[in-house]
């Protein structure tokens, strides 16, 4: 599914918010057809990096490239039309519209007629196994369904890249397992390059071929799951944060491997 050079890349990107360095010289590549992980403690700059890759956040220095072409300064809606899709940490569904229309909006935004967009939306809902939700008003959905609808909305018309911002937040063990299956199918069956941001380290270690670790705006480690498990830098980054429950998880994973 993948071939060399087909990737979405942030190269030496820095972003600054009034004195606060949110990203410093970050380089990250998302290859087509694979799942790449991005982890890091709260406030590390993960969402900011997604905003950079999807055109919502202009970069201070550095470049963003889509399969070899510079895409800095291109508006978000145009980037989506070029195949870069995303979800939001906070869901951001169109609350007043039914689920089917939430997906339909993407089809329409990408140039389909309403009829074609509805047909495609139905197929995507079926593919995700959530067809029964079609007529529900999105604002009335429980949290975990909201996440799945958001993914459905993002994969309408099969994007080339999909950036998922904490899709498993608030999900039970069982639900995140179902999500893992879906993410694998998105990369495997659809050939989409997935970037997965998650605080559920177990899920990231299970799914991703390559993992980037961000801390205070800097990439402190890159590597395969095994390497991340053993990394002292990663363990150190999570120490003393609200997320230090992750450390035993890392240790457990390391012991198991």
């Amino acid at each position: 599914m993948t071939s060399q050079g087909l990737e979405l890349v942030a190269r030496d990107v820095s972003v600054q918010f009034e004195g606060l360095k949110a990203l410093s010289d970050v380089t990250l590549a998302v290859p087509r057809g694979r799942i790449t992980g991005l982890i890091g403690p709260n406030g590390a700059g993960k969402t900011t990096l997604i905003n950079v890759l999807t055109g919502f956040q202009p970069v201070g220095t550095g470049t963003v490239e889509l399969e070899g072409n510079a895409i800095g300064g291109i508006a978000p809606h145009k980037l989506r039309r070029m195949g870069v899709a995303r979800t939001f940490q906070s869901g951001r569904l169109f609350r007043d519209l039914p689920v089917i229309d939430n997906l339909e909006v993407t089809g329409v935004g990408l140039g389909q007629s309403r009829r074609d967009a509805i047909t495609e939306a139905r197929q995507v809902l079926a593919w995700l196994g959530i067809s029964p939700l079609a007529a529900t008003i999105a604002g009335a959905l429980p949290y975990t369904d909201e996440r799945r609808v958001a993914i459905g909305r993002a994969i309408m018309c099969t994007p080339r890249y999909l950036l998922l911002d904490e899709p498993a937040a608030g999900m039970s063990e069982h639900e995140s397992h179902d999500l893992a299956v879906i993410i694998k199918r998105i990369a495997g069956e659809l050939g989409v390059g997935v970037l997965l941001i998650e605080h559920n380290i177990g899920l990231v270690l299970e799914l991703c071929e390559r993992i980037f670790v961000l801390d205070s705006g800097e990439i402190i480690e890159v590597g395969a799951p095994d390497q991340i498990r053993r990394s002292d830098a990663v363990r150190h980054a999570y120490m003393g944060t609200q997320r230090d429950e992750i450390i035993p998880a890392l240790a457990e994973q390391a012991a198991a491997s």
Binding site: V105, R115, R122
Partner: protein, 358 residues
């Protein structure tokens, strides 16, 4: 997989209900109403056109506009220029270009031209205004109202300045009023079920997510702006034929305020709301008009002071905003299923601490 039923088939009942109910009102007014009552009915139909036009933009985009009455002004004056007999024009409107001075078109030709003229104007100014968001966009539309009003009040040789231009053929009647309202309703309906309408409503709910879904918000807003200007331009043309005179004062703050109140009272996110709001406020205005004229009680005429009408509408709008923030129709459309206003089983969204703002 079977084709889903088309969007039109699912939603067509709303405009049908609205148009049929208005037809019944027109027929009743024609049959039983006095001359004065019929004039009130025509005024109501024209207001429906304006407010439905306003809905096409405000309802779908969620941006409040204070500038729409300037499109009515543009439409009305264009109709005046096109329909007043050349003999009269050459005395009062000397500044008109020769070809316009010597033209006289029938109403059914002049009206669409007036609508298109307003739409073209919206296309030009909208390219700038639609780049703004939220309150900035609303204030810019207010500026537009001021600019247009000033130009039409002071360009004496073309608009007759502050005074009125007379001589527009008084060809309005309830049936034409009803037809205009029907055209407005159908146009606004077709826009809201269009791709652009759907995309704009999504952007109204969640602007950031709409952009991430490929929606070009500036473009869709511009489309809505132009469509609504077209409808309101038609309304202006009808208004000119209705009064047979035009003056810039008719297209300023008072009309802006009343039409916005009508939209808010009815429910600004629904077409049914736009129509219901006009009907409700029109009834009220008629009531207060009588009260302002005075009711005789035992040989004594007791009347409300002039302006009581506006005060009452203002108060009612505030009360509605407090108790029914989504208007009389609660932003829903009339249809067979939820008529009359059946309660929707809307489960309240699940609140969790996990919903952050980024």
């Amino acid at each position: 997989m079977s084709r889903p039923p088309s969007v039109i088939r699912q939603t067509i009942v709303t405009p049908i209900i609205l148009i049929v109910v208005l037809l019944a009102m027109a027929a009743l007014s024609y049959q039983f109403g006095s001359r004065a009552f019929n004039r009130t009915a025509i005024e109501m139909f024209i207001n429906i056109m304006v407010v439905v036009g306003l809905y096409a933009f405000v309802g779908n985009s969620g941006l409040l506009s204070f500038g729409h009455i300037s499109f009515m002004c543009l439409g009305a004056y264009m109709t005046a220029w096109l329909t007043i007999p050349p003999v009269m024009k050459s005395i009062t409107l000397k500044g008109l270009p020769a070809w316009l001075l010597h033209t006289q078109l029938p109403m059914w030709v002049a009206t669409p031209i007036s609508g298109v003229f307003a739409a073209l104007f919206a296309l030009i100014v909208g390219r700038i205004i639609m780049r703004l968001s939220g309150i900035a966009a609303s204030i810019a539309t207010f500026g537009l109202l001021g600019v247009v009003n000033n130009v039409y009040s002071n360009w004496d040789s073309v608009t007759g300045g502050q005074g009125s231009i007379v001589g527009i053929p008084p060809t309005m009647n309830v049936w034409i009023g009803w037809l205009g309202a029907a055209v407005a309703i159908v146009t606004a309906y077709l826009y809201s079920i269009s791709r652009s309408g759907l995309a704009l409503r999504a952007a109204r709910d969640e602007e950031v997510a709409a952009r991430a879904s490929g929606v070009d918000i500036v473009r869709e807003r511009l489309v809505a702006f132009v469509v609504s200007a077209f409808i309101i331009g038609l309304a202006g043309a009808f208004y000119a034929h209705f009064l047979s005179i035009v003056n810039p004062g008719s297209f300023y703050l008072r009309t802006t305020f009343i039409t916005l109140s009508m939209l808010v009272v009815g429910g600004m996110y629904s077409l049914s709301g736009a129509v219901a709001g006009v009907v409700a406020i029109s009834v009220l205005i008629e009531l207060f008009r009588d009260l302002e004229k005075g009711v005789s009680v035992g040989g004594l005429t007791v009347g409300l002071p002039n302006g009581a009408q506006e005060i009452a509408i203002g108060i009612i709008t505030i009360v509605i905003l407090i108790y029914l923030p989504s208007g009389l129709t609660r932003n829903r459309e009339f249809s067979w299923r939820n008529w009359p206003l059946q309660r929707r089983r809307l489960v309240p969204p699940v609140q969790t601490a996990l919903k952050e703002t980024n």
